[in-house]
Amino acid sequence: MIEQEENVYQKSNLLLDIENLSIDFKVYGGLVKAVRNVNLQIENGQSLGILGESGSGKSTIALAILSLLPENAVITGSVSLYNDKYVDSENKPKNKRGLKLLDQKLRDIRWKDISMVFQGAMNSFNPVYTIGRQIGEVFRIHTDLDKNQIEKRVVELLKDAGLTPAVKDSYPHELSGGMKQRAVIAMALALDPKIVIADEPTTGLDVITQAEIIATLKRLKQSGRIKSFIIISHDIGVVSQLADKIAVMYAGAIMEYGTVADIYKNSHNPYTIELLKSYPNLSNARQHVEGIPGRLPDPANLPKGCKFADRCYMKDSICTTEEPELQYIDGMHYSRCYFAKNITQNYPKAPNFANNYIKNTKLIEIEHLTKNFDLKKNIISALYSKDKPSVHAVSDVSMEIREGEIVGLVGESGSGKSTLARLLIGLLKPTSGNIKYYFNENDFVYVNKLKSNHKDYIEFRKNTQMIFQDPFDSLNPKMTVFNTVSEPMIGNHITKDVMEMQEAVKASIANADLFPVEAYMDRFPYELSGGEKQRVGIARATVINSKFIVADEPTSMLDVSLRASFMNRLNKIRIERGMSILYISHDIASVYYLADRIYVMYLGSMVEGGKADDIIKSPLHPYTKALIKSVPNPDPSWNPGHIDIIGEIGNSIDIPKGCRFYDRCVYRQKICKDTVPPVKSNGEHWYKCHFEQNELEHLKNEGYS
């Protein structure tokens, strides 16, 4: 911070002070500069948000505050709590006694003054101990309360975090993701810390649970249970809900600092502007978004000058020679750019696409598709029990995909989307139902009835491809890009001539926007970034000009700034070649951006379907309504209010006899429990429920009165 702006009053209220913190990591290839010269301050009762992409150094700062960095970290600068420097590169303890004293100090600070909710914390519970015991461990280590007192405190904490006290006797595998995350928050609050650091608290959770966690955290903050708060995330919506001030980080340095309104409405930094516009959200509807071009700089070889220069639209010659300092804008607003005072907005031009690419001919049609996975509890039940327990992953799904259109499939995790995708591709065989594949308008075959060496089936296989969710796992680490992309050609015996194969692969790689093509042909996956790997996935899927591609959550593992370019690429290919794409995601905003039609799935059955605009603007099914409402809006004035949904997604083994949504519906009635709801439709837009819209309104008012 520029020091002349602080006054004495603020200084005495200063809780956490990070001064000139730089962290380098010594690795075998050199020195990785993770954090460069960061200055942050948190006052009592304030919350700070750190916004940035993956690799920008956010988690490293959090670990440095708790002094949990690994041994090969080189720290310069200092972190102090209430003016007591406990991480200080200048006064490193020289002897054993000094080390012991430092250790003691750190032990006092950790968890009692500062506590942390780690990234992916729900996976860090020990599976053999109950939740109550693990939370109680905190008390056992840091305090000397006896068993009953500990139990009482644990119950209090769980209630604060929004869980029922029964959770304390359950094991981690019995809880859902959202409940585990709340348990982790409870653990972090155990000793009433002054600062709670939350590192990506909502990754891996679906939208509704995410909204609930955010609401819980907000409640805790407002009630004063959490005194000061640091929230680290890449999602502007999450950060803007929970923080008072935001610091935007890029390549280890702070790019912009200010209040939420400053950052969101009045940003003076090109990176922030680009970042905020770089992924679609529901309010922007289908405005064209262009991600940020280029890629993150290599932290072991940072370029000279401004690190964002090669991707910046305001680049000038001065940007590549010297790194700018933080410029003061007004109030608490600082920005690191030479052009901070006279920034301009960047409005990318939307490309002109012809809009006759959607044909009306059907390509794939599914009728009453069902897939059950059998569970074998023990050999007796497997052989003799009449009603075998099974996982009803997909139940009675019907949908159709036309040529040239993108169909979006939305649902929480556990709703059966991936199973449906694998059924369409042919990796799984359906228990019942039909999959029809149309060669042309009148000629179709039942794919599920064909043998695998039937020539129609081979034709079907040639025309379907898949883009997988995990870019790291979907490429064989021992095969080059050329080998990976040419695999569909080899498997479908397209050609034996190596030259032809090369040409086709080169064309496909160019189409996926990987330049220079020659260099990429011989690279191994470990030499590629996440975005490049996923683009190799596109290249592989499009190399033999398939008519139908299933994209199973392709952007969920990518950085935010890469998602938009990926989706644009997919769209471009679809328009150029007239392919159909089934785009599966749990991120409604990106589905809305790409899809022409959307289907909504819940617990294995399709609950709503229709044109994209219709679904998003006027959802009919209660579940869809709750989904749309719970997408966080980065506008700080947004308040979700109450989301009309109860509980968590159930399991698909003991399904209710009637409507699948019965357990969570706020409008449920007795009839919903027994009878399967019918399909109600007006034209293209249909939903499954017993009640019409006006009836639902009526029930809702009744319910809340």
Binding site: R461, K462, M466, N492
Partner: protein, 727 residues
């Protein structure tokens, strides 16, 4: 535009690049480096094995290297031995007491004379009689007589005198004394002299009085007497004189015309006809032969210097009958036959160097059955062929130059070099390793004599009986060897008698341990590598099958793998070895066919985890066949683990195979490390006796297995990289 070959080359180049990067990581680890170097050293030794050692290590080493004579006595005498003579003479003493005497010339406190040494444990020596001046020649003999049997007479000559004494030993055998019989002085210098022991008498000479007759023989009809011959030199020339032994009266004297130093030979001991005995004198190029009566039989002069004359011992009984008339004569490089009746010579053979010694057997059937000559560093055995020619039938290298050959019996000779004191006992001139024991006294020795009557003695509480013994003088010591040598184990030595270098000595079976050790490298390495790699190949195929397919077939295969895993290897191999014969190939097969389940279980986990990876699904979507999926996706991802398991497996294979070899289940004709240790299985004490035969294979086995463990530890660094290296 890349062509097919260029793509292939680029592919290989990238794969090699990858391998090089992995090798760098591997090389960083200390363990990997050490293991790799040890393995390379083993492979180099195995490849160089045919160069380092020649021939079959089981073919044995020359017997003279590891046989040693049993020393029965090695006593310092309490008088100074007359070293210019360096001769022992022995014959039986008083049979009743069972003691034997040896006689030698010596000096004790200015007294020159003949000393008697008792040849048993309590041996002592005493001066029998004095001579004036050093003894130049002596002989002990026992003339045939019935009532005075086994009485020994001694003849000695000094420069100018001749003496004959009678040796008496006490009834207990503890003391011996000599009684003078005759003594004369000669005018001139006695060059050489000898006595004939049982020559037929040609009537009582006139000068022999009845007393003398009575003193010498109590039986008038005894047809044998004894004559003494001396070559005397005075200013008129050299003369051969014959004396009657018991009163030393000169019977005749003939002038000799010799061109070199004289040697006297007598043939006629135990002849019946009195006209046949001959005394032969050789000197330089001349040879003269006279009858006992003084008649000249032949007188020849050759164009060459006469070396040795060898007369088979049994010819002394056959009256020079036909077939018993030929003696062997060496001259320079050539060997001749000398007819003893008319003195004609016949050429037999020329050797490459001077013939230093001739050894003949007794010749009781005419031509001697064994005839050996030593020339240079070789000996040659000669025999008469069917056509009547005498030719070389066997030869062998001598470890030293031999100048004295003594025949003992049945083809056994003692070859010695009297100047250097080296002796070697030849037991069969025609076999590959013809020698038995050798001894090196490192000082000049007298010619060894053989005791024909055995007596038993004890060494180290071991009783040696009934074998003839050899006695000789070495310096001032008397040494007695038993004929039968003792095999001993040798330690590491670089100087053996036969010139062999034994860096690690010999083991219990008297094999060259170094040859055995180096020759074990190739078989052990082959077995290890073959068994290890075969196991890995079988396991790879089975593991892919079990891991990829799920369901009944794969469960069945897994159960089968488990049951094979539980089959005990050792009893199965014993049974198979007894049915099919023990061979290394069987061992490799057994080990591979029973050892694969272990590796399979490790690999199944990997296959199953790779199967769940998304790129396998993507390959299925791209319609790749199952076999291609396994080849393209599974095997490369298991690569590092495969190498790791191969390394561990090869080490384990060698360990298992070696344990079989130690138990003796593998054929003994192949040298292996375990085989070297198998002889110690029932006899652990021998390990301390033969440390150089046990320690090399143990060290080799340990290092070999450790090398693979280290290599696998290095590969572990590649397969499981950790930040900052393994702690």
């Amino acid at each position: 535009m890349k062509t097919n070959t260029k793509i292939l080359k680029d592919n290989i180049k990238f794969k090699l690049n990858n391998v090089r990067k992995q090798f760098k990581v591997f090389y960083r680890s200390w363990y990997g480096k050490a293991g790799l170097y040890i393995l390379i050293a083993f492979i180099i030794v195995a490849l160089l094995a045919p160069v380092l050692v020649h021939g079959n290590p089981f073919s044995g080493i020359p017997s003279e290297d590891y046989f040693k004579p049993v020393t029965m006595e090695d006593k310092k005498l309490n008088f100074t031995v007359e070293s210019s003579l360096n001769k022992i003479s022995a014959t039986e003493g008083e049979y009743k007491t069972g003691s034997y005497y040896m006689f030698t010339a010596g000096e004790s406190g200015k007294n020159y004379g003949i000393f008697a040494i008792t040849a048993n444990d309590s041996g002592s020596s005493c001066l029998l009689f004095k001579t004036n001046g050093t003894v130049t020649n002596f002989m002990a003999f026992a003339p045939e007589s019935t009532s005075l049997q086994y009485l020994t007479d001694i003849f000695a000559s000094s420069n100018h005198s001749l003496y004959v004494y009678n040796v008496l030993c006490s009834s207990s055998g503890s003391s011996v004394k000599a009684l003078p019989v005759a003594h004369i002085s000669v005018n001139g210098t006695i060059v050489t002299a000898m006595v004939s022991t049982n020559s037929p008498r040609f009537g009582q000479p006139s000068f022999v009085t009845d007393e003398v007759m009575a003193a010498t023989s109590t039986v008038d009809s005894c047809p044998y007497g004894s004559y003494t011959y001396a070559v005397v030199e005075n200013n008129t020339g050299m003369y051969l004189n014959e004396y009657y032994t018991y009163n030393l009266h000169e019977l005749w004297s003939h002038k000799l015309s010799l061109t070199g130093s004289p040697h006297i030979y007598f043939i006629g001991n135990n002849f019946i006809t009195p006209n046949s005995p001959e005394v032969i004198v050789t000197g330089g190029k001349n040879i003269d032969a006279w009858n006992v009566t003084g008649a000249l039989l032949f007188n020849n002069s050759y164009s060459f210097n006469i070396g040795q004359l060898a007369i088979p011992a049994e010819y002394q009984y056959f009256d020079l009958k036909p077939g018993y008339q030929d003696a062997f004569m060496s001259s320079g490089n050539s060997l001749y036959i000398l007819n003893l009746i008319n003195g004609t010579r016949t050429f037999i053979y020329t050797a490459s160097h001077t013939i230093a010694a001739i050894g003949v057997s007794r010749g009781s059937h005419g031509f001697p059955s064994d005839l050996i000559i030593s020339s240079g560093n070789y000996y040659y055995a000669l025999a008469k062929s069917k056509t009547g020619n005498v030719q070389v039938t066997g030869e062998s290298k001598l470890p030293f130059g031999v100048n004295n050959i003594e025949y003992y019996h049945s083809g056994k000779f003692l070859l010695s070099n009297t100047t250097t004191g080296q002796m070697i006992y030849l037991i069969n001139a025609f076999q590959k390793y013809p020698y038995s024991w050798n001894s090196n006294l490192k000082a000049s020795v007298g010619n060894p004599i053989m005791f024909e009557e055995p007596y038993s003695f004890k060494i180290d509480n071991v009783t040696y009986g009934s074998g003839p013994t050899i006695a000789l003088l070495s310096g001032n010591n008397i040494i007695m060897y038993s004929f039968e040598g003792n095999p001993v184990s040798l330690g590491p030595t670089f100087h053996t008698v036969s010139g062999l270098i034994l860096p690690l000595g010999t083991n219990i079976a008297h094999d060259n341990v170094f040859a055995l050790f180096i020759d074990s490298f190739p078989p052990d390495l082959e077995v290890g590598f073959a068994a290890g790699i075969m196991t890995i190949l079988i396991s790879l195929v089975v593991a892919m099958f079990i891991g990829y397919y799920s369901g009944m077939v794969s469960s069945f295969m897994e159960t089968l793998a488990l049951s094979i895993f539980l089959i005990p290897t050792l009893p199965l191999y014993i049974v198979l070895a007894s049915v099919l014969g023990p061979s290394l190939i069987n061992l490799i097969f057994i080990f591979s066919l029973l050892g694969w389940p272990f590796v399979t279980f490790s690999l199944i986990g990997i296959v199953r985890s790779v199967k769940t990876r998304t790129f396998v699904e993507s390959a299925k979507v791209s319609n790749i066949k199952t076999l291609s999926i396994m080849k393209r996706h599974f095997v490369p991802n298991m690569g590092t683990l495969l190498v790791y398991l191969t390394a561990i497996n090869i080490g384990g294979a060698v360990a298992a195979v070696s344990s079989f070899e130690i138990l003796g289940l593998v054929s003994v004709s192949i040298p292996t490390w375990g085989g070297m240790l198998s002889s110690f299985l029932g006899d652990f004490y021998s390990i301390t006796v033969y440390p150089y035969a046990t320690i090399p294979p143990i060290v080799a086995l340990t290092l070999f297995i450790l090398a693979f463990i280290f290599i696998s530890r290095g590969i572990d660094e590649v397969a499981n990289p950790t930040l900052g290296g393994r702690k």
